[in-house]
């Protein structure tokens, strides 16, 4: 059985990404380029399978400008047997890559096609799934463990999914995409680098593979993510209460109720703490048992009665003075110089009795 591994040349993982001044894309001139880390993992897995005697040959393939040959050379130095470079422009979208891979699979007829789950430059995470669809092969994406059974011609794949692991049994031939924990890629050792020099890299074109490199997508603009705003120092408790009520967007907290309203599937909308009531915003930060008791205890310090308060906003209104006292006790070091801020119960109690 042959194994084909797709390899992408990307901006090195450790390089800080800079946007081109005309916003047409990411700056790649004079930038260190390396093999996509997930592709390294994919290749390592293929090599391991070959070393365990379950495969006869590992073929590394890459598509893009001529520099991709360097990355393929790295793949050969890691241990791939031969490589194919498909000459193509640098900006290929996942569908084009998937079509090229399909064409290559039809030429080489491998029993397994392994890819990285995504490339760290565009983070698309689409190519593996697309090529599986085009080939009509079963797919095991985000693989963290792969076990092959040569007799039965199946691969058992552990996948990292939200909330745990999923184990699939795939009939070969199949498409796998590698997740981070699948393995630890090997280094390119000198003897292997020397051997790699004599390994063949076959050059092909999209025309030879009868693939039309056309895309329905166009990059309009590439910009940096917005810079995180700096925090602000407030001058009074009134301002704080006002910000909490009007600007903090408390309603956007991802409580179970809110998630459910956004159409996210959940096992339950009940509060995971008390499992008695729906986890609304008000329940989470005010109504739920423990939390309520904490507010009650605070109100006790403030010498206030909050038994009639029904929700968080009401609490903010009613206890404005209490909040002011607490904050000034906690942070007003000038007035209460002796106070040690510690969130242990004893310390707070002692300081309260002192003042």
């Amino acid at each position: 059985m042959k194994i084909m591994v797709a390899i992408k040349r990307v901006v090195d993982y450790a390089v800080k990404i800079r946007i081109k001044s005309d916003k047409s894309g990411v700056e790649t001139t004079n930038v260190k380029m390396s093999m996509n880390p997930f592709c390294e993992i994919a290749l390592e897995e293929a090599l391991k399978i070959k070393e365990s005697g379950l495969a006869s040959e590992v073929i590394a393939v890459s598509m893009g400008p001529v520099q991709c040959v360097d990355t393929l050379r790295t793949g050969l130095a890691m241990g791939a047997d031969r490589a194919i470079h498909v000459d193509a422009p640098a900006t290929l979208f996942p569908l084009s890559v998937a079509k090229l891979l399909k064409a290559l699979v039809e030429v080489e007829k491998p029993g397994l096609l392994i890819l990285g789950k995504q490339a760290i430059d565009d983070d698309c995470n689409q190519t593996g799934q697309m090529v599986a669809g085009l080939l009509n092969w079963p797919q095991g994406t985000f693989a963290s463990k792969v076990v092959l059974d040569k007799e039965k011609k199946v691969a058992t794949v552990d996948r990292e999914v939200d909330g745990g692991l999923e184990t699939l049994c795939l009939d070969l031939p199949a498409v796998l995409t590698a997740d981070l924990r699948l393995n630890q890629p090997r280094y390119a050792t000198l003897p292997n680098i020397m051997k790699a020099k004599s390994k063949p890299i076959k050059k092909m074109t999209a025309e030879e593979l009868k693939v039309e490199l056309r895309s329905d997508m166009e990059v309009v603009q590439v910009t940096e993510p917005p810079k995180r705003k700096a925090g602000v120092i407030l001058s009074s408790v009134d301002e704080l209460v006002d910000k909490l009520k009007n600007e903090a967007h408390i309603g956007r907290l991802p409580t179970r109720e809110a998630l459910h309203k956004r159409g996210i599937e959940l096992d339950s909308v009940l509060c995971p703490r008390c499992e008695a009531e729906v986890q609304s915003v008000n329940h989470a930060i005010f109504g739920c048992g423990e939390v309520k008791r904490m507010w009650m205890a605070m109100a006790n310090w403030w010498k206030m009665d909050i038994s009639n308060v029904e929700n968080f906003m009401g609490l903010l209104d009613t206890t404005r003075d209490g909040v002011a006292v607490t904050l000034s006790r906690l942070f007003g070091k000038k007035r209460y110089g002796h106070l040690h801020i510690k969130f242990g119960r004893t310390v707070i109690e002692r300081s309260l009795t002192k003042t």
Binding site: K32, M35, Y187
Partner: protein, 460 residues
């Protein structure tokens, strides 16, 4: 280090030269001893207050004053942390001419005053070459402006050199002007295994010839150092796990052309492999791998700390003799201690480290609760003094050996407190006498970093 315990009642953190000058003026007038302190990362106790010295810490003097993109001259205050300067220059497309393991906390003022060497010395030379100017505050508070930014300046005595490497005993450095080389885009790192020390030497010889202009680091470590790192540091992986080798060499090349540099390095490595100098090796394929190779070499001091007590020696020796000392030491100490050798082979600088489970020259306190039949319970304090066996085996042997082979007992760490009295192993009596005269001239009251660098007997 857990080796030196300082004792001081006061630490001052001046914000600028003026404040520092005022402090020294006052201290000098009252004969108060001071100890200048930067990142406090020194290994020979140079920044430790011995009795009651006032600590003057430069950490708040941390601004970058100017940077000239054409000449590459950086002017900054002494308290700038080396790593911050490295990242500042990185954005400008330049690098610092020195790089060392402690870069995250050491300060440039401390680097200059101790003439720190580090990992790039083989390429960019010592700070005596790259520092173009200094501003120094003398013991009496006078500010000496020698902050030139010129590469060539032959007017009179070049006094800045007195302060580079004087370990704060002649004045406190407040500003530094330093020549920074441009950052070259192509960096390649190879991690190689050699079977014996002769091969390491031959490899260095070959590397200087075949890699000449792009060679930027040539480091070596022995198998014991490698084992320490693998056993004591998390997430470190042996790049060459297939076999155990006696020596490992890390070669870094820095150049301007990725493909031609790589070709050159590969050709060199293939040649080294074919001629049997190198038994195995790995070439970093991306920056992540490169930094994990460096991590092995830079992580040795940390691994040694985790392994227990460590006696550190930083020696300059003729390259061909360097490892003989490690082997002789192993025979001397036998199984009692782990003798580790690593260092900057390219500069003839050996870091000889003796690692033992604990410091045996320490006083130990044992508390016992004694309960007599009818009387009260008594707390007994027993003081155990163990003989300084290991240390007596190492010193003065190491120093004598080094002296006999015309080496230096301090290559890049300085003399500090640890080796002040040992200066004669590397310098003649006349030279030390002249140093003492200079010290007396610049610091007549002897307030600056006392008990360090120069033997006490010459100053009192």
């Amino acid at each position: 280090m857990h080796k030196y315990k300082g004792s001081s009642k006061l630490m001052l953190q001046p914000e600028n030269t003026e404040e520092l000058s005022q402090i020294l003026k006052y201290c000098n007038s009252r004969c108060l001893a001071v100890v200048p302190q930067g990142g406090n990362t020194g290994l020979v106790g140079g920044s430790v207050p011995v009795f009651d010295e006032v600590i003057i810490n430069t950490r708040r003097m941390n601004s970058i004053i100017s940077f000239d993109k054409v000449s590459g001259v950086l002017v900054c205050e002494a308290g700038c942390i080396l790593e911050n300067l490295i990242s500042f220059l990185d954005k400008q497309g330049f690098i610092m001419p020195l790089d060392l393991g402690a870069k995250g906390s050491c300060q440039i003022g401390g680097n200059v005053s101790t003439n720190a060497g580090g990992l790039r010395l083989v390429r960019y030379g010592s700070l005596h070459g790259t520092v173009l100017g200094l501003e120094v505050v003398l013991a009496n508070g006078d500010v000496m402006d020698m902050l030139g930014t010129l590469r060539k300046d032959n007017t009179g005595y070049d006094l800045k050199h007195l302060f580079i490497g004087s370990e704060g005993s002649l004045g406190i450095i407040t500003k530094v002007s330093i020549l920074t080389p441009p950052k070259l885009s192509s960096v390649n790192i190879a991690f190689l295994a050699c079977q014996d020390y002769i091969s390491c030497q031959k490899l260095l010889f070959e590397a200087k010839r075949r890699l000449g202009e792009i060679l930027s680091a040539f480091e070596f470590l022995d198998s014991r150092a490698m084992n320490l790192v693998l056993n004591h540091l998390d997430g470190v992986r042996n790049p060459l796990p297939s076999s155990i080798y006696n020596f490992y060499v890390l070669i870094e090349t820095t150049g301007s052309n990725e493909s031609s540099d790589k070709e050159k390095l590969e050709a060199f490595l293939v040649h080294a492999m074919e001629s049997g100098l190198v038994s195995d090796g790995a070439l970093a394929q991306d920056l992540n791998q490169a930094s994990s190779f460096w991590h092995i070499r830079e992580g040795i001091p940390e691994a040694l700390m985790k392994a227990g007590a460590v006696y550190k020696y930083d020696l300059s020796l003729p390259v061909e003799k360097m490892y003989d000392l490690v082997e002789e030491m192993r025979i001397r100490l036998g199984a009692e201690a782990n003798v580790v050798g690593y260092g900057h082979l390219g500069d003839g600088n050996l870091h000889l480290n003796v690692s033992t489970p604990q410091y045996d020259d320490a006083v130990r306190f044992v508390f016992l609760l004694h309960k007599s039949k009818n009387g009260p319970t008594v707390l007994l304090l027993i003081i155990i003094r163990t003989p300084q066996q290991i240390l007596a085996q190492i010193e003065p042997f190491v120093y004598e050996w080094t002296s006999r082979h015309h080496g230096s007992i301090s290559a890049e760490h300085g003399l500090g407190l640890m080796k002040a009295e040992k200066i004669y192993y590397s310098k003649s009596a006349g030279t030390v006498q002249l140093m003492a005269s200079i010290k007396k001239l610049l610091d007549p009251s002897g307030i600056l970093n006392p008990y360090k660098v120069i033997p006490q007997s010459l100053l009192s």
